[in-house]
């Protein structure tokens, strides 16, 4: 199943629309990030990520 990234929140899923924010997803993305503990992550804070999960760094 192809992984797609949300054009808004960059969360990765296999859906046509993001399961979290319902915006369209794109198969044109790069960079990969797994957030395990957003409350204790400087990276999550920097990117304003509040939910654990997989994210792209750049989505077109």
């Amino acid at each position: 199943m192809a992984m797609k990234a949300c054009t808004s929140c960059k969360r990765i899923s296999t859906k046509e629309r993001c399961p979290v924010c319902n915006n369209p997803t794109s198969s044109n993305w790069s960079g990969f990030l797994v957030i395990i503990d957003p409350d204790n992550s400087d990276i999550a804070k920097e990117l304003h990520i509040e939910l654990p999960g997989e994210y792209a760094l750049r989505v077109r």
Partner: protein, 109 residues
């Protein structure tokens, strides 16, 4: 980053396996309770992943026994006191987090 105790370590990965290792490491750290809070795979850094952790990474921990994970990047200058020598600064990591310049941040001269 005010008051954060986290450090970021670079791990050496077999080329092409970066995402797989990142996913597996995330799953294993969640289960084993090591202090890993995020795993980053910058596209421009082939053969490496970056791991944010609140505890010093112990490669002997079962959480880090993962195929294609080849080891931690040790610094060339091994300091006696400075335990954080083999970490990556958050400023360096930021460059990978924002791969595209943001138009609004360009200063108007």
């Amino acid at each position: 980053m005010e008051g954060s105790e986290n450090s970021i370590y670079a791990l050496k990965i077999s080329a092409g396996q970066e995402r797989n290792v990142a996913r597996m490491l995330a799953r294993k750290s969640k289960d084993s309770g090591v202090g890993v809070s995020a795993v980053l795979v910058p596209e421009s850094l082939k053969g490496y992943i970056l791991v944010e952790s609140s505890t010093k990474i112990d490669m002997q921990n079962p959480a880090f026994k993962i195929p294609h994970l080849r080891g931690i990047v040790e610094s060339k200058t091994k300091g006696k006191e400075d335990k954080e020598e083999n970490t990556v600064t958050f400023e360096e990591v930021k460059k990978f987090l924002n791969p595209e310049p943001i138009i609004s941040s360009i200063q108007k001269g």
